[in-house]
Every structure is written in structure tokens, then in C-alpha cells.
Subunit: 465 residues, 2 copies
Amino acid sequence: MDMTALIADLVGIRLEQNDKIIQQKSRDFYWYSPVLKRQLDHVTGDLVASPRTEEELIRVLKACYAHDIPVTPRGTGTGNYGQAMPLSGGLVLSLADMNEIREISPGRVICGPGVICSDLDKATRAHSSQEMRMHPSTYHTATVGGFIAGGSGGVGSINWGGLRDFGNVIRLRVVTMEEEPQILELTGEDLHKVTHAYGTNGIITEVEMPLAPAYDWVDAIVGFDSFDDATLYANALARQDGILTKLITVVAAPCPFDYFKRHQKFLTEGQSVVLVMVAPHSHDAFKAFTARHSGEVVFDASMVEDLKGLPPVFELAWNHTTLRALRVDPAWTYLQSLYPFPNQIELAAKMERMFPGEMISHLEFVRFDGDITCFGLPLIRFTTEERLDEIVELHHANGCPVFNPHRFTLEEGGMKQTDEIQLAFKRQADPKGLLNPGKMIAWDDPDYDFGSGETWLFKGLKQAS
Amino acid sequence: MDMTALIADLVGIRLEQNDKIIQQKSRDFYWYSPVLKRQLDHVTGDLVASPRTEEELIRVLKACYAHDIPVTPRGTGTGNYGQAMPLSGGLVLSLADMNEIREISPGRVICGPGVICSDLDKATRAHSSQEMRMHPSTYHTATVGGFIAGGSGGVGSINWGGLRDFGNVIRLRVVTMEEEPQILELTGEDLHKVTHAYGTNGIITEVEMPLAPAYDWVDAIVGFDSFDDATLYANALARQDGILTKLITVVAAPCPFDYFKRHQKFLTEGQSVVLVMVAPHSHDAFKAFTARHSGEVVFDASMVEDLKGLPPVFELAWNHTTLRALRVDPAWTYLQSLYPFPNQIELAAKMERMFPGEMISHLEFVRFDGDITCFGLPLIRFTTEERLDEIVELHHANGCPVFNPHRFTLEEGGMKQTDEIQLAFKRQADPKGLLNPGKMIAWDDPDYDFGSGETWLFKGLKQAS
């Protein structure tokens, strides 16, 4: 790779050439997975470019195209699947500086891909008491564009489903990786081409997202002596059509008491908990409903005088649950699974009992294809990669699909099949295959057998030197 | 009844003594039902009182208590079950003048019971772009208090379920009918005592309701050649978690073309339609989704230049569907039924085929106990009361509960069983049984057998003189 020539072409664009910083900007939270840690720990780009405008971005892409340099786009690198890691080196394309908020109107916002989620909400709240429909638990660090390209849902999915659902992204402006980059405006059916494609087939330069009303959500934690009771309550609460919540999370004992250190004084050892964000105008109904279910509200932010030092409850949920466990005990890793409706209660109970001492259950209730059900993000005590694969297989065998966070490809981390729409769009938008190489098996290895059960190996993975 | 003494006690309170006007104010839309029309056509009160404040109201109640005069509270009489009709005569208590809007804040509003729904929304929209979560199709005439006391849900129930659900009413201030009326503030679990109790056990003097964000909802009509296709599409649209709608209604042919006269130029004879209200920021997604389902958008208010003379689509839906059919052909009446999840599609298709020429299907998609399903408000061609009862029985026999709109009691129009909570509260709040007599069987006839299959006869029903 002729990086010197590339750099010469990029005069005036913000570049980073310090090796340590480049390495830092080549990483995400891949290290939650001991498997990805082993495979990707050495991965680093050769240069970071941070365009501030679409014109600068296009200059970068044209230059990389001309010099055949791989380009791995990223926001702030808060993913967990190695989404933003440059497997073949080359240019790390930071979109964090394209962070202009352009227009806020009822129900929608238009902004650059690099806006941090919490900054976006701050602006939309101030403008008209609105906020994003959903955000990752890395709300304060993740970019909107990175969330769309690499995420799937999060806090708010209990109301709105996932990013893949019609209506949760309104429009994306995308630049292709061709000799003459094209600028495309994607809406409706076409959005699927690039959402959750890890930036393998186009660079998002502007997003138009729907907004929901912003409320002063009340954080609450409800304690239960049994995981099953917590799950039943959480499921029933999620099915209360008139109680507006933004988060309903079940975390089994001993995780809450052992790992939610800052909330420990509110918690009882041995209790499983349900984390809830409830709208202030649903707070009364939430309390009445919880009392009916014999739930004990052990923490209610609206009743606690001094909240200083306490993180919001969504920072105990989604992937932050894993993070808090890992911080105390690095032997933990995790999975991402789905407990399909209508069997979520039975499946969650069954899986909870299947791996005593080896798994701590963690459920995130969501709307999924019109039904209330839950994802699982269980903590898994890591021993060997073989055992981890076995646990994944046991989930599949019991009817719980796993979106394997120990794989760095779109397919293995997702639906285990070629996404023909995204592949076809990559053929058009990235004919040289320079965008985020190694993340789309269908591109690199069209004959790969997804039923093989083998982990796919990316031949272009740059080896540690 | 000593009305003269009562009137003397009510000096300074707005009274109506003109017989014609009293009769007018003693009616609702009971005449949608030929059965209720026969039974109740002669019903009229003896006096109408319209207090403007809670103090005036309490004076009225105390005076009626002292003189043993029945009191039938009402808003504007837009119910269909005879909810607001004074079966034993006496005082008609109009709450329409208690229509102050007291406080609007994020997610909630506090107001008097007599505020008209559309007036409330006008104020909350102007204040902070908010609106009621749900409203009846009689939006422009119905009062908020009447909706709570006599309604169950409506436009918006696709997002929020029904009024009976936790969280859809925040607080009710209620005055009892005792020698010394008490003022109670009901929240949480206690709300059920008086919601949908037809004012039989207390008078609502203030309501606190949750608000949802107000959008400029786009009216659309999607046409299908078959009712089954329309139902499948409507159900699938309702299950799109990311597409924000406020109304999803299926009306089978020939109703739309024959009875939606003002929209007729957009409609095709023989087509069944789906009526949709969609948020502007979900409009793109709605169009993409509809195209995927081969639905033909035959009317899209955002594309029609001259909307003059066209009612909003919600005035083609819920009980307005019946009204439009009745206006053209008075031989129609209707039912209210539920197609329970997860069999709503099959049940709707089955019932549609069961009564050829005698029934036109009409489905209202809603959230119900956490699931997406639909109510039925089918048009029924009336022949005899026996046949009508037979049709009701055939619904029950096929697993579709009917909330019989041809009965004037709470129990027969609802769950066919005693509501012990409402009954217990009536014992406390209305010891003389003066509030809306004849509407709660459990009060008048504690030994009544709900399994008898007989229509209950209210002995206190004032006969035509």
C-alpha cells in the first residue's frame, strides 16, 4: 500500500499518523470477546483520516480508490463485533467530525453521521422536547451513524423495535466507493442496503431519523427473590400498553449485587432485578402495577435525594451489563440471543437452568416484529472456545437464535446467510471491494457454506508483524 | 319525585325545564340499536342541571340526595349504549359546563370533565404539541369525562390499548352521592372503581390524563380487491413497530363505496379498504411497506390539493362507520366484538363468510393486553331481535366475545359478570342507589343469573305516559 502517495493526495484533510493513536482508533469493544481478542488484538490501520465535510470525504474516498487502499469507516468505535476494525489495515475513516445537526422538526432530525447520541438528544430536547427513539447503552459516546451502520437497537426498542424496522431510519445519504463516487439518497425499502452493513458498501454522510417525545424518564429497580418472578413481571410490564417505559431489563442474581457497585446500597444479595425507565406520567401506574405483582421497588430515582455518582439505569443494561461484570471479573464474556415470542418466558427459564455457575441471565425486553419478547445478553464464564461454541449450539438447539458476538463477519454475527440486497449493493457501490474488507463473507468467499459450522477465516486479515 | 322542592333548592344553578330540550338532553346514540330504540325511545328526565363548578355540583347532589331524586350524569351524550339516559327519569346532570383546562405539562393535562376532546387537543397542541393518547370518533362533540365514564378506547388505541389499561387515565377527582358528598382523588388501582361505570357510583369533577405527542397525522385509504387481503395488510401494518400510526381500520366492501359518500370519488366499487392515520415522519416507511404488500393507496391526504368537504378518516371509522351506513340505509345496525389474538385473521375471515348479505365486516386494530389484534364493529342488517341475538350467539360460539350494544346495562354490554370493585364502590359512594339507576344489574338484582341468556329488565324503567 502506497501510503505516502495517499497522504500526499490528502493535503488539508485532518490525518492522524501516530501509531499509538492509530491503533486506538482501530479498535472497538471487540475485547468483550476472548475469541475476537485473540483474533483481532493486533489489528491496526495505517492512517486515520477525519473529513469534516462530504467534499473532504469524497476526496478521501477517491484517493483511496486510486491507490487501492482499504477504507474502514467508523464513528467512535463503541461496537462489540469488531465492526470498525480495519482487518486489512489501510485507512481508518473517522466520521466523528461530520457532526453537524442540520434540521430539527416535529418527529425528525437531520444530522451528520458523527453526532454523539446524547449530543443529538440534547439539541432536540432543547429545540422541541424530542429525543431519539432508541439509543445504545453507549449513549454518551456512540455516534448516530455508527449506531445505524453497526447497531441493531437498544434503549427504546421496547417501544419501537429495532433499527432494521421500517420507519426507524427515515433517510440516509450515502457516498459510494467508485472512481467517481456517487451520492445516493436512500429511503424506504432501499435503506436496508446499508443499515447494519458495517460500512461495507457505502459511507453514510447524512442521516434523517425519527424522533420521539423526550420525557424526564424515571429510573427504577424492582427486586425479586427469583429470576422467574422477575421475568414474569418484566414481561407483564412490557405488555402494559398504557404504561410508557423506555427500558425493561432483567438481570439475574448474583450480577446486580456483585457488579452494579454504585447501586449496591440499594440492592440485596441474591436478588434478581428488573431495571426500568418509566415516563413520569406513567409513574403512578407503574407503582400500582408493580404492587399488584408483589414487586419491591428497591430503587426509585424520583425518591432518592442524592443521585450523585449513580449512573443512569440504562448504563446497567444492554452491553453495559457485560461491561460492569467484566470490570469486576474479567473471566466473564457474553452472548446475544433471542427468545422468540410466544415462548420467551419458558425459554429464558430453561436456559437459566442449563448452565449453572457458567451463565448469568440477562434479558432485554423489546418489540420484535409486532410482539413483545426479549433478547438475551447473558454473561458467560469463559473457559474454552470449544465450550463457548457448545453453549451457542445449545441455544440454537433449544430454539434461541444467537447473534454470535464472537465472530467479526456480518453473516456469522447475524443471520448466518448471505444478505443478497447488501451484497448486490456492494457490487455496485464498492466494485474494488475496498470498504471494510473481511466483514462480508458473501463478497470474499461466495461459495462459503454457512452450514459448515466452521468459523470463517478472512485470508486478507493482516497478520501481526 | 318532588321536582318543585328540588328546583327551589337549586337557585343560581343553570337549569333546563323545557320538555323538548330535556328530552334531547336525555338521549345518546342509543338509536343505532333497534332494540334500545324500542326499549328507551320514551325515556326522558324531568330536569337538566348544568353546574359550572364543583361547589355547584355538590349542591345539586345534596339536594337530589335529600329529595331522593335519581341523577344521571352525562357529557354530551355521544355514547351508543344508552349510558347517559335517565331510565327512571329524575335529574339529568350535564357536566358539559365544567370544561376548564387547568394545567398542561409534559405528558399530562388536568381539566374538567366537560371539555370536548378536540378542544382539549387544540389547547394541548398550542401549548406544547401534545394531544390525547386516544379519542372516540366523536372527537368534535364528545367530552373527556364522558369518554372515561362511558367509553373504552378509539382512535389511538392502536398505540396505547384502552382506557381500562393502567396509565391511560392518571387521576380522577370524584364526588360521591352521600348525605355529605365526599371528594375523592383516585389514582392507580383505584381508578377502576369509576372508569367505564357509566357514572353509577360517583361523579367525575376533574380528570388528569396522559398526553402523547401531536403530529399532523396523514389520512390515507388503501384499497384491496379482497377483504382477506385488506385484513392481512392491516394486521401486518399494525405489527410494524417502527411505523407510527394512530388508526388502522378495515372496512369491507360494499360499505366504503356505498356509504363513504364524500370520499366516493377516490374509491372503487367492490373494494375493501384500510383506513390509516400515519405520522408524517412515518409516511415514507408506510408507502414502502404498502408497496411491498401490493396495497394501492387510493387516497393520500398529503397528495390531495383540495381537502374541502372531506371528513378526516377517523370520521369513517369506529362508530362513525355505522353512522355513515345508517344515514344511507336505516336498516343497518351493528355489533361490537373482539377477535382475540393470535387468531384474529382467521376469525375475521370466518365471521365475514358466515352472514352473507347480512353483515359487512369492520375491524379496528388495537393493542389489547400487549398484543396486536382487532375489535369488530360489523354492520348488521336488522331483521328481528331474535336473529340479532342469534348472530351474537354465533360470535360467542366461535370465540369472538361480543360487547352487546343492544343492551343498556354495564354487565350485558360488557363482560357479562358482576364487577365487584365497581359494585363495592357504589355501596359506599351511592348508598341510596340514586346514580344512573338501572345500569348496574349487580346493584338492582344481586341474584341475577348472567348465564340465563335472557335480557335483563329494569323494573325501575319509567314507562311512557
